[in-house]
């Protein structure tokens, strides 16, 4: 789904499933800290300093909320009210890449119309 970084929920921000265990959340938090720390190589040439700081703040906020079971439960409930969650049914994602350029409707160009005209004529 198309979302701005500011609109990501805590799980999306830490790149974990909503069913993630505390250990998985801790691990994801460490990875996110490494990604958004000051002077991080992973952001070089793509993300500016101000933006990095904002995301890091949100990462910390996300971890603080998800590490506390009571806060996490409240957050999950609020999230469910906003958007229902369907856990992945299989170990792999469903492919979305079925769009093929060849499947696109044929454009009705002048030559295509002319061809059809001749094809119909006896």
């Amino acid at each position: 789904m198309l979302k701005r970084i500011e609109d990501w929920n805590y799980y999306e921000l830490l790149s974990v499933e909503r069913t993630a265990s505390p250990d998985e959340i801790w691990e994801a938090y460490q990875a996110a800290l490494a990604t958004y720390r000051d002077g991080s190589l992973a952001l070089y040439g793509l993300v500016g300093e101000a933006e990095r700081g904002q995301v890091l703040e949100r990462v910390q906020e996300a971890f603080q909320a998800l590490r506390d079971p009571a806060r996490r439960r409240d957050y999950d409930l609020a999230l469910l009210r906003h958007a229902p969650y369907f856990p992945p049914k299989a170990a792999f994602r469903k492919s979305v890449g079925k769009l093929e350029i060849e499947e696109a409707p044929v454009r009705k160009t002048f030559w295509a119309r002319l061809k059809r005209l001749f094809a119909k004529s006896p």
């Binding site: 198309l2 990875a31 890449g97």
Partner: protein
């Protein structure tokens, strides 16, 4: 025949694209799979040297200059069972500036090669030719090293791929006025790709959906080469995560290949690294990546959007 075209590309030179291509080819061939390695680094070919093979004819230049009618005829046997190579041309200068017709002919014949696995070793940079070869393959593997220059150029390469994918779709749907708008927005800042899609969804939801699906269909893989410690290994994971968040692409981190001094020794001795150092950590990483990729192809990359270039 179920054919797999692997493309090894990247934004910066010296990251080890040819090393990955050669050793991946050797690994697949060692599993009794038929493989053709294509040295598609038209400007600076040296894939044959990594395999310890001397430059000889026929080569890719002979096909591109019509001295050999079919690309298949330029695929020569190597000393390694199941592995053939289409060498790049060292004698024909300026061959890297392929015109559109020649590029299409080459792409078409690559698809027609009689083998199950074709590995394209691409050149550095983001010229249209390189991007089109990268996008025509599945999987496309980006090779980077844990250095700021390589990371910067990796993002540039990915952005160029994204622009190329979207432009191909815009060309097809005759919505070219969007192209300039997209260029203007994306050059402004990193979140602009989101901004571009957001505004497009508001003005024309159908085109927005088509282009967004096209973008999500671009699923490159990342390999971090020459890693020296755990921090370098994790950097690959971070880069893939940042690309997912800021460039809106589904990038898969295949893993890291540790730095190995023996790579240099093998190259100096004109010996293929994978053959001489099968038990090294780097060779193990290549094997692991290949297995990981085989699993991904089976389950997640199974139906990639096919991008064909227009004939004009």
């Amino acid at each position: 025949m179920d054919k797999r075209i692997w493309a090894i590309g990247g934004g910066k030179g010296g990251t080890g694209k040819s090393f990955v291509a050669a050793n991946l080819g050797l690994h697949l061939a060692s599993l009794d799979r038929e493989v053709i390695l294509v040295d598609a680094d038209l400007g600076a070919p040296n894939l044959h040297t990594l395999l310890g093979i001397k430059a000889s004819h026929p080569d890719l230049g002979d096909f591109l200059t019509n001295r050999v009618p079919a690309l298949e005829d330029t695929a020569v046997e190597t000393p390694f069972r199941g592995l053939r190579i289409i060498k790049g041309s060292e004698n024909i200068l300026f061959i890297a500036n392929l015109n559109h017709y020649r590029k299409l002919r080459l792409l078409r014949q690559i698809r027609q090669l009689a083998t199950r696995n074709v590995i394209l070793d691409l050149g550095t940079g983001s010229s249209y030719n390189t991007l089109d070869f990268f996008l025509s393959a599945n999987p496309g593997i980006v090779v980077a090293t844990p250095e700021p220059t390589a990371i910067e150029n990796t993002y540039l390469f990915l952005k160029s791929c994204i622009m190329r994918v979207l432009k191909l779709y815009m060309d097809h749907y005759k919505i070219l006025e969007l192209h300039q708008k997209m260029l203007d927005q994306i050059e402004k800042n990193s979140q602009s790709l989101y901004g571009f899609f957001k505004s497009l969804m508001e003005t024309d939801r159908s085109y927005g959906t088509i282009l967004y699906r096209a973008l999500r269909g671009f699923r490159p893989c990342l390999v971090m080469n020459k890693t020296r410690d755990e921090r370098d290994v994790l950097l690959g994971r971070s880069v893939a995560d940042v690309a997912r968040k800021y460039l809106l692409i589904d990038m898969k981190y295949l893993g890291a290949i540790p730095y190995d001094e023996d790579v240099h020794t093998s190259l100096r001795g004109l010996r293929p690294f994978y053959v001489d150092h099968r038990d090294s950590a780097a060779a193990k990483a290549i094997r692991q990546m290949s297995e990981e990729l085989a699993y991904s192809i089976e389950f997640t990359l199974r139906t990639p959007p096919e991008i064909r270039l227009p004939d004009t």
